[in-house]
Point group: C2
Chain length 230, copies 2
């Protein structure tokens, strides 16, 4: 959709065309290689530098940062349309479990009427989508993020948002199956009820079971964390 092909192409090119010391081709060379002006290259490099993928040293050159790519980088790449390594998806699901189970617990203590209203709205929208035979990708994201929002921890919400940005291209596939969508929706309803009852233990358990579904799905798809087979 909103792809920035130069950004990802450039990143790929830098990784494969850097010297032993991590120095990459010069801006001028890159510009020529990609058939664009230096300005375009500089703009992309500015982003890459902000992501800490690259370091620009004045009058010296551009160097790859040895640090592994940051979350920001992952998110930005995802937003630029760069596909995510399957193993990262699995890891992301594991993290989601950690985050969202805890979020469900905290939400039981901190959720306000506004949160509950939003959740009801989202569930109603889900119902409508299901009736229309459409996927629930957006509603699923909204539901889960609303629970995180109910923790009243904005950083928590921001962090979790990243997952959904990264999974933006894959969620629709997950929800393409009507039966899965229906089951997911019903689990959401039960989670909502637990939250409303402010039953922390139940909410955690339900959320855990709910996310287990996603985990098994991805595990089955990519062969687990240690045996990632195409």
């Amino acid at each position: 959709m909103k792809e920035n092909s130069l950004l990802s192409d450039l990143a790929a090119h830098l990784f494969s065309n850097s010297s032993g010391n991590g120095r990459t081709p010069s801006e001028r060379e890159l510009a020529e290689h990609f058939g664009v002006s230096r300005g375009q290259i500089r703009e992309a490099l500015a982003i890459l530098e902000a992501m800490r993928i690259v370091e620009r040293r004045a009058k010296s050159g551009i160097y790859l940062t040895t640090t592994e790519a940051s979350v920001e980088a992952m998110a930005l790449f995802a937003r630029a349309g760069v596909p995510l390594d399957p193993i990262l998806i699995y890891e992301t699901v594991e993290l989601r479990k950690i985050h969202e189970i805890k979020a469900a617990e905290l939400a039981c203590d901190r959720a306000t009427e506004e949160n509950y209203q939003h959740l009801r709205d989202i569930l109603a929208a889900s119902e409508a989508k299901l009736a229309a035979g459409e996927g629930l990708a957006r509603e699923d994201r909204d539901f889960h993020l609303e629970i995180v929002r109910a923790t009243k921890n904005s950083v928590f919400h921001r962090v979790c948002s990243v997952y959904y940005v990264m999974g933006e291209h894959r969620l629709p596939i997950y929800f393409a199956d009507p039966a899965r969508s229906r089951r997911s929706h019903e689990e959401h309803i039960r989670i909502y009820e637990a939250l409303l009852a402010r039953d922390g233990n139940l909410a955690q358990a339900l959320m855990s079971a709910h996310l287990q579904g996603a985990e098994s799905y991805w595990k089955g798809l990519i062969g687990g964390p240690a045996t990632a087979a195409e």
Copy 2:
């Protein structure tokens, strides 16, 4: 240190000089306002757009994205030297507790000899720093991140790295107190021993207590989550 003043200045300027529809001044106006060329402005805008703070519509204008700032934005701002809202620090500490307690548990199952060796190296470096009367900011970060790394979940590690980037300017203050540094170091040792013994429950408990110290510190400093004073 690595400040990009134009980036933060520009962001601030955009927020206060946008029309009702979120449209900001044009690139040419911004260039003139900041006394730089359009190229500089475009580079900064590219980053702001990558952070989803701004949207550039061809032949139309630059518009503020209504979405609240993303984690990437927070991290990038932090890296650019923009101070963090105190309330966000408190929220970050809460999140750290969620993450790192779980990380300690997982690390007990998954840590390899390499992780243990790194932890030992870090503890030794801490000892040296303490003897030299220096702060432990870097070693503290390394210790905690190594435990996260031991979970063998790279996304987990990336997410947690963001916290330390955001707290980069404040950690040195925390560790300026020798007594606090010493106590922190000793807690690290005990956590390491629990990890080595692969005692998940103990590791969790120790990590929880350890982070409680940081939480109280920040809570005392900013007056808690709901009563942020000054």
